[in-house]
Amino acid sequence: MSARFVAGRRWFLAAAAAAMVSGAAAGPPRPQVYPERGPCLAEAEQMRREHHVLLKHQRRESVREGVRDAKVDFNRCVACHASPVTQSVAAASSDFCVGCHAYAAVRVDCFNCHQPSAAALMAQGRGGAR
């Protein structure tokens, strides 16, 4: 890859970032995160690319092997990422999970079965920290 191309891309990214800061460009959705709720399982870059792999791995362990309270816990994801407004990750189009998946045109089936509401989790005594 030529240094010139990299430099060009750098310029483009800088311009895009500047546009995003000024709010002029309608780029990809920026899901709201809440650092005060604690650190995520992994770096954001890895989570963005591999969250589904982590969840798929864990689903096998939990369903088939009976591993509970594992590091990757669907309910903890919901508890941390739920919007303060809807208390959910999938109720409104701006909520954490559906916001991104709608933009990426990926239909997410998780919430046909899993509970997307953190309010329900709190009511069942398993919010945030386990």
Partner: protein
């Protein structure tokens, strides 16, 4: 390395990394003193224990015909809606049996019997129905295609099909439309050392839960002192749930 280069190299690297991690896992298992790695896996907190076989005794002689606390407890624990139609799910149901000649009546709850040789698993075309190491028969809803073969195959009518979309799931019990399901022996509870909800709520101790492989458990002690029935023993399914007093 700058972000652009990293992004372009990601697909290849990720693939290689995932392969490498498989080899690393194998190498790790071999390099560590024999058994150490395996032990670490099997002793993970709450993991199903192959030495156990969870089972239950339903003592119909202690069951009150007018009580349905076990059914209510099951529905509350697992987030099942109150059944109003024949198509609504019932993981546990109360049945009344009446012998025609003597007129003797008994009432008892019945649920999935968690067979050692479950026909529901045998007919499942995707492998969604499976038996855990500790003998609990479950549905992996991630790969259930809703064909309902298992519903047909179960001689105890213990399998249900979810027709309507579900909104009120309990967080520990994910469940949804289009999947077969049945009693889970409250795996989410027993994995944490608690009793199934129906057993906990029975006021007459008509339900006894325990490990069939543990001779000192209350379950095995009771089974040694009474003649519990194995429903449809002719089918040789070896159910983990036994019934007394029918």
């Amino acid at each position: 390395m700058n972000a652009t280069v990293q992004e372009r190299e990601q697909p290849l690297n990720r693939e290689r990394r995932s392969w490498l991690s498989h080899f690393a896992a194998l190498a790790g298992a071999a390099m560590v003193a024999p058994g150490v790695h395996l032990l670490a896996i099997t002793s993970a907190e709450g993991a199903a224990d192959a030495k156990k076989r969870w089972g239950m005794l339903i003592d119909a002689t202690r069951c009150d015909p007018h009580c349905a606390r076990c059914v209510i407890a099951c529905h509350e624990e697992n987030g099942l809606p109150t059944p109003t139609r024949a198509s609504d799910v019932r993981w546990i149901r109360k049945v009344a049996l009446r012998e025609k000649r003597s007129g003797r009546e008994v009432s008892l709850p019945v649920m999935c019997l968690h067979c050692a040789n479950p026909p529901c698993r045998d007919v499942c075309p995707t492998g969604a129905t499976f038996k855990r190491k500790d003998g609990v028969v479950l549905v992996d809803r991630h790969i259930c295609i809703g064909c309902r073969y298992c519903v047909m195959a179960c001689p105890y009518k213990a399998r249900n099909f979810v027709y309507a979309p579900v909104r009120e799931q309990r967080n520990e019990v994910p469940r949804g439309a289009g999947c077969a399901e049945g009693c889970t022996l409250c795996v989410h509870r027993i994995d944490r050392g608690r009793l199934p909800a129906c057993v906990e709520q029975c006021p007459n101790r008509a339900l006894i839960f325990g490990d069939l492989n543990d001779p000192s458990s209350e379950l095995v002690q009771r089974l040694q002192s009474i003649s519990a029935t194995i429903l449809r023993a002719d089918l040789r399914l070896d159910p983990a749930v036994r019934i007394h007093g029918v």
